[in-house]
Amino acid sequence: MSNNEYVLQMSNISKSFSGVKVLDSVKLDVRPGEVHVLIGENGAGKSTLMKILIGMYTRDEGTVIYKGEEIKIRNTKEALDVGITMIHQELSPILEMTVAENIFLGREFKTKVGFVDQKKMKIEAQKLFDEVGISDIKPSAKMKELSTAQTQMVEIVKAVSFNADLIIMDEPTSSITDNEVDKLFSIIRRLTAKNVAVIYISHKLNEIYQISDSITVLRDGEYIATKATKELDKDELVRLMVGRELSDLYVTENHSQSNVVMSVKNLTNGKLFKDINFELHKGEVLGIYGLVGAGRSEVVETIFGMRGKYEGEIFVHGKKIVISSEKDAIKNGIALATEDRKGTGIFLGLPIRNNISMAWLNNLTKLGFVNGKKEKTETNIVGDRLKVKAASYANAVGTLSGGNQQKVVLAKWLLTNPDVLILDEPTRGIDIGAKAEIYKIIEELTSQGKSVIMVSSEMPEILGMSDRIMVIADGENRGVLEHEEISQLSIMNLIAKV
Amino acid sequence: GGENSNETAGAGSTSAAAENKETFTIGFSDFSLTAEYQAKLRDEILDYAEKTYGDELEFVVLDGESDSDTQNSGIDNLISQKVDLIIMVPFDAEQQIPAVQAAVDAGIPLLEVCLQTADDGLRTSFVGSDDTSSGVLEMQCLAEAMGGKGNVVYLHGPTGQDSEIKRHEGANQVLEDYPDIEVAAESVCNWDRAEAMTAIENYVQSGMQIDAIFCENDEMALGAYAAIEGTDLEGKIHIGGIDCISDALQAVKDGKLDCTVLQDAKLQASEVVEAAYKVLHGEDVEEYIEVPYQLVTKDNADDEYFNN
């Protein structure tokens, strides 16, 4: 094996965090011009391996050979200097700065006198957007005005704009829809044509087969295998990842009953959306689908009291209720796992256990004091059910892998045992095994007569899980598909309908 | 010179003396060592003790940081260390009484210098003078300079501080005799030059008729002067201060300030050290050893007495 064959060779990489080994002699070899997928369950160590590569973490052991030379990268600046960039799993935009400033941070254009050339930065940013066909983001907008999906696209554009030789993409598609995914893939194809290597991390198997050349599988911090994508079928891949066979992903049994649990009439919220009507039946999974920016999140957030005043009516169990805060919603048996995990989902610095119990604490206290024992048992039950991978529930959530953080959010809401569980992009960043687990839990809940509203941008998930589907576009309800009408085509037709 | 009032009287017997030590440790607790006068007083005390008694007297110097509780805590710490005698410049007339009480309870004699607490039954002796008189001297001087009528602006030290209260009382006593003098404005400037300067600048701008500025210390007086220096008002406003710090003395000589009032740090220092020495050797001292304030004007500013 000649060195020149690979642009990157990582071997024997090991890493421990406070005594817990998270990477154990892992290797990864990447050829120039290929899309190399790194796959594994949540917490397998994918992000950690990549952070070691770009110098955010220091490895305990191992060597990294890049372009035939052994390198020691101590910080991200050095990684940039040798031509390695990374799209991070946890988006970290600088909210108060503009899109253009974010993209060119650290390499600003200067005017003749040496000041920052804001104009040029905007023009160049616009050029980058035009190249990939992004039209909904203004270079002069502040990052905090963007949706998660838009933020993700900015990060992609930024990473690509460095003209690096190796680009790491850590779950770049976890918060964007098919439309943007297509844009991303055309970017990737253009890059590989220029012999740029891409390390691609994703839990979406379809994408992997669509875009990648070879696959490296990690499991529990250990290297399992590297194969050409062509030579590896889906079942085999899942078996390598999970360590066992995985039967049907989706549970299709319909538990809908005829009685209506919640109904929403003419719900309107400013310019965000208008005249949304739907009914939610007992034991039903109501899917909500739409393209990015359609206003789905806004609808469910309004129902949950997060978006202030609304017009229209909300009925729960036939009784009209007024929801002016999240507390009102929770009192009425509604729970919402929001799409913005970091912003509204978790408390990064607080222990996992405290995160899980946060919305249910009133029921775990006596005379104001938290019943530690009860808290422990109950949080352990939901946590285990979701297979949260953590050394201890006393650790801060911030030390968890992205997927496991998402599980903590779900655990928090499951604990409240709601009648109506609303899930906004619930499986974002979650591995296939855990996904199956979550689907099973949804099934269990509905079989117990609970109702679920699921907002998702993943077509297979929406198709596989929903008993009915409401399609939203441009803040309008485009129609509700009954169980037997559901198909990808019918959904797309509703979206296209004007 | 100041009146010496340290006639000695027969044998006394304090606990400290009974031990008949070679050297004594004296705790000196000043309410603030960042105030210029207090820093000067400390230096004079240490100098005099060193010169006169050499190694015989050792000092532990504490800063009360202009906070009653801090000063009391410091005295508690001195008591814990079992010093032989405490000299204190109290921050507050009332709030330092518990410290005096604590010292007395621990059998440690306590002298007050410069400022005094309100309870004169407890302490061994006070060296200094009634602060009221300094206010009287300064206001008297300004009132005469104004010809008994006109507007005076009054600059206060930190509110609630004992010397501020007393100087204010003294000034008020004089004002009762001058019905034609009006206090046009008052401001709390915390002994601080820059604050005094700002206040006077603002009053001048307001178009207020100002004939004199009464300042409760020299720093503020110099700040007040800086505010009018170079303006049309220079030389038309009478300004007085208290403390006779070197800058102010020079300003009096130059005619920038009408007066300052000498608080005699040197004499206070020597008197209190002498008193301490006596107490430590079991001798009696007067309960009140007066070191009077003295008015300094252009007429007497060159006296050698003020200049060393």
Partner: protein
Amino acid sequence: MKEKNFDLGNFLRKFGIYFVLILMMIILSFLSKSFMTVSNMMNILRQVSVSGIVAMGMTLVLVTGGIDLSVGSMIAFAGVIGCTFAHPDPSYPLIVVILIGLAAGALCGLVNGLIVAYTGVNPFIATMGMMTIARGATLLFTNGRPINDLSESFQFIGRGTVGFISTPILFLIAVCIISALILHKTSLGRYIFAVGGNENAAKVSGINVKKIKIFVYIYSGILCGLAGLLLASRTNAAAPNAASGYELDAIAAGVIGGTSTSGGRGGVYGTIVGALIMVVLSNGLDMLNVSSYIQQIVKGIIIIGAVCIDQFSKGKDS
């Protein structure tokens, strides 16, 4: 097994600053023979009582991500208001005086809390405003003069002893216990951490963020009320200019003890250690007869050093 591992780590994290305090005390007891005596230890505890009580309230405020600059003024305000009813004649029962003092503090705290929770004004500005307002009100009320002539019974709360322990120490212990229970054992405490950790997530979890914020400022106010009474009783007079600058000491005690000024992290045990470090340092340097100017230099260096050691003992992961 794994659970255990972590606890050790956590213990070490917390240990850092305890270690600094113990080290400091050991060194001082070698340097000065009068340092490590029962009477001096009591002395230290008595000295820490007022600042420790105030720092407890500050800790809760800091954990929510707030700050309370008005503590010094609230202490003076509550002391003065309380002591107006503490004269020997007419004499009111001690409990009335205490309640009035606490109420005065609580009132200021309530205003702080309302402003912070409802107007969106930065806590720094809100409480800095209150700092000025409460001080002005105190001066106006007393006309700048201390309130003295306090009753025997009132003097007891700051200067009395129960058994051989001074009453202020008992108050400090009580406040410690109550604060620790609130912050570390109740759901209220959890919510306080939640608000500081991620305000949006707290709201989404159904927590009434406004109520929590108002609570911590009131709590801080009440403790300042208590501190004001103790201070007045200790010094035998309620001065309108008392306790200025206490805010920095209280914040420093919290921060030295590991409470984050950006919220979400901290605890009352650390705070009491932080407060002790500062008092022990002053006491020790006084004992060693370090001149007051040099004391300031040494204090600054040691406080930075203490936090430094603490930081290193925690490792790089925070």
